[in-house]
Symmetry: C2
Subunit: 225 residues, 2 copies
C-alpha cells in the first residue's frame, strides 16, 4: 500500500514538472512572438494552451483519486493539497502566456510592443522565461535556492512594471491610446506571470520546511501595480 | 462520526457564505468609492482585505483538517476539494475589489473614472455588486437558477469590457495616457471579478448535478479581452 502511495506522489510530482515545462515553452514562444510580431508563433501558443488546461485537469483528478483511495495524512496530505493549488497557478501562468500571444495576434501586422518600450518588454520577457525555467527545475529537484532566485526575479519584474507605468504616464509619452492600452495590459501580464511562479515556489518551500507562515505570505501578499 | 462530519460540511458552507458576504461588502464599497472618488471608503476596502485573506486561510485549514481526520470519499470529498478552490476564487475577488480601491486612492483627489466612461463604469460596478450578492445567495441556498443569472451578468460585463476598449481606441477618445491606463486596468478588474464569480458558481452547479463537463468549462473558458 505504501509502495503504491509513494508511486502516486512521484506521479504527482512528474505531472507538475511536465505542466511547468509546457508553461515554459508557452511563455518563451509568447514573449518572442510579442517582441517580433510573429503571428504564427503566437498562434502556436494559443492552440497549445488547451493541452496545459487538460493536463492540469488530469492532475487535479489524480490528486482527488489519491485523496479518495489512499487517504493520506500529515505531510503527504499537504503535498496532495498543495499539488491542487500549484496546478491552478501553473494553469493560470499558461493562460497569461496565451494572453500575451493574443495581444500579439490582435495587433498584427502592427507591433504589439509600444515604441519606446521595446527594451523594457524584451527584458520582462527574458525574466519571465527565466522564472518559468527555474520553477520547472525547482519542481523537479526541490532545490530551495531556486525559490529565492524566483522571488528575486519577481522583484525585478515588479520594478520593470512600475517603470512601464512611469514611462506611459510621463510627459514624454507619445503613444496613441492603443499603445497605452497594450503597454498597460502587457506589463500586467508579464508581472502577474511571475507572481504566480512565486506562489508556486513558496508552496514548494513550505512543503520542504513545514513553515506555515510562508504559505500565509503566498496568499496575502501578491501585489500588483 | 457521521454527525461530526455533517457538522463539518455545514461549517465549510457557512464559512464560504461568510467570505462571500465580505467580498460583497468590499466590491460594493470599492465600486462606490471609485465612482465618487471617496478615498476614505477606498481605505476601508484596502484595510478590510486582510480579513478576507485570513478567513480564506482558515477555511483552507478546516478543509485540510476534514481531509485528514474524516477522510471523506465520493461526493463529500469533492465538496471539500471544491471548497478549497472556491476559497481561492473568493479571496481573489476580494483582491480585485482592493485593486479598484487602490486605483481610486492613487488618483485622489482626481477622479479615477475617466471622463466619458462614467455611466459605463457605474453600470459595471452595479453588475459586480449584483454578481457578488447572487453568489452569496447561491452558496447559501444552492438555488441553481442563481448560477445561470450570474453567468448572464458575466456576459453583460464582458460586453461592457469590450465597449470600454472600443471607446478608448476610437478616434473620439480624448483622455490622456493616465485616463487610458485607468480605463484599461479598471475595466479588466470589473470583468475579472465576475469571471471568478462564474468559476465559483460553476463549481456549485457541478456539485449539485455531478456534471464534470461543467467543471471543465470552469477551468478552460475564462476569457478576457
Amino acid at each position: 500500500m505504501r509502495e503504491v502511495f509513494h508511486q502516486s506522489l512521484e506521479d504527482v510530482q512528474a505531472r507538475l514538472v511536465e505542466i511547468a515545462e509546457l508553461v515554459t515553452v508557452a511563455i518563451d514562444k509568447a514573449t518572442r512572438a510579442f517582441g517580433t510580431s510573429d503571428v504564427a508563433l503566437a498562434e502556436e501558443v494559443i492552440e497549445a494552451d488547451i493541452v496545459i488546461d487538460d493536463k492540469a485537469i488530469a492532475l487535479d483528478e489524480l490528486a482527488i483519486e489519491i485523496l479518495a483511495r489512499q487517504q493520506p495524512v500529515a505531510r503527504d496530505l499537504r503535498i496532495v493539497v498543495s499539488a491542487l493549488r500549484m496546478s491552478a497557478s501553473l494553469e493560470r501562468m499558461g493562460d497569461i502566456a496565451e494572453h500575451i500571444a493574443q495581444l500579439t495576434r490582435m495587433r498584427f501586422p502592427e507591433r504589439a510592443i509600444p515604441k519606446g518600450l521595446k527594451s523594457t518588454f524584451t527584458k520582462m520577457g527574458e525574466l519571465d522565461v527565466e522564472v518559468a525555467r527555474k520553477l520547472t527545475e525547482l519542481l523537479r529537484t526541490q532545490d530551495l535556492a531556486l525559490s529565492d532566485e524566483i522571488r528575486n526575479t519577481d522583484d525585478a519584474l515588479d520594478d520593470l512594471h512600475v517603470s512601464v507605468f512611469e514611462k506611459v504616464l510621463s510627459d514624454s509619452w507619445q503613444g496613441e491610446a492603443s499603445a497605452t492600452v497594450d503597454a498597460t495590459l502587457a506589463s500586467r501580464y508579464h508581472e502577474r506571470f511571475a507572481d504566480h511562479a512565486v506562489s508556486v515556489a513558496k508552496k514548494v518551500s513550505y512543503l520542504a520546511t513545514g513553515d506555515w507562515t510562508t504559505e500565509t505570505d503566498a496568499i496575502s501578499v501578491v501585489t500588483e501595480a
